[in-house]
Symmetry: C2
Subunit: 208 residues, 2 copies
């Protein structure tokens, strides 16, 4: 997570329990206080560790929250629901459920905002969260191609661009719906999103 310890063999080892306690305390503080009122001193008290221990492991508030939020997204999975449409709806609903949790909402957007002025932080977010979940798009596409629902894309570059595009469209739409429009990404909405994604606007005029 925050600092690899590959070489150090001697000396007192860092407490793994402290790591878990700190990250859990960070999420709890995000729920109760939000991003702006969250202080590292408060997190230290909640976790039962000294404030200096926090600063020894993380460079600051940004990096700590990235790690605390990243764990939330690891529970995403893509079970085979029989069709591409059903697969998409299933994983989008999972994603929406995570974004409905307050610790994900305030934490994720805040670190993304900070990352606009911090290249290292942006790379950390990309590695810890974004790229790790892009596997879902890849898996869904491969499965759909096996079913014959999607044509094969022999051009590797074009295929990669499509994967990136779909990821931005799906994740961006859910985030925007949940955080900016402040409306729930419920089954009906996800169904409409999937329809547009697969068939486009012109082909899907009817409701529901």
């Amino acid at each position: 997570m925050q600092s690899r310890t590959p070489a150090s063999r001697t000396g007192r080892p860092r407490s793994a329990a402290a790591d878990a306690a700190i990250l859990a305390a960070t999420r709890q503080a995000l729920v109760e206080l939000g991003w702006s009122r969250l202080t590292l001193g408060d997190v230290a008290v909640r976790a039962g560790v000294a404030k200096t221990t926090l600063y020894r492991r993380w460079a600051g508030k940004n990096e700590l929250v990235v790690d605390a939020v990243a764990e939330l997204f690891d529970e995403l999975s893509l079970p085979d629901r029989g069709s591409l449409a059903a697969d998409i709806e299933g994983v989008v609903l999972q994603f929406a459920a995570i974004l409905a949790r307050p610790e994900a909402r305030s934490g994720l957007m805040a670190v993304v905002a900070e990352a606009t002025r911090d290249d290292a932080l942006r790379e950390r977010i990309r590695a810890s969260i974004v790229d790790r979940q892009k596997r879902l798009v890849l898996a869904g596409r491969a499965r759909a191609q096996e079913r014959g629902e999607l044509p094969a894309q022999p051009d590797a570059d074009a295929a990669a661009r499509t994967v990136d595009l779909i990821f931005d469209m799906v994740a961006g739409a859910v985030v925007h719906r949940t955080l900016v429009s402040a409306e729930p990404a419920d089954e009906e909405w996800v169904h409409g999103l999937t329809r547009v994604l697969l068939s486009g606007l012109a082909a899907a005029p009817g409701p529901g």
Copy 2:
């Protein structure tokens, strides 16, 4: 903006020049310092006003930045480019150009993050930014229906839901592409986005 002055007739009026100077100074501070290091005292010095004047007009940092960023999006327009696809690509490129500016990047995401725990702030964002730009989707849809590119939607509820969905998909995709994936929303990408939006995934296998 921050406080309507409909009834007050007597007394010294608030300086409109100060308003403009403060909002411009806020954007400049966002560029140079980003959200977290931006302080109201610093903005006051840049704008050439007293710090107390800032607190008399805005409740805090959040509200100030919302107003400062909202002005950036008023330059969006939807010129008739002959087809729905061209209209979409044009306005999305405009939107992308705004999001490429650092004062929009860091400011917008930060206030959205804060809004997750502040209903009044979220409503302010919705009124000042989101709903104000939804006019673009409405205008584009009406124009496309006149051209016969999109079918009419007699059901008003379903039509409104579609407009909200498209807005979330387009704005969300551009924001995610620009801020999270940290890749440019250039012409090629916008072209791909438009293609998926209009025709869907299954119908558009080939490259750009």
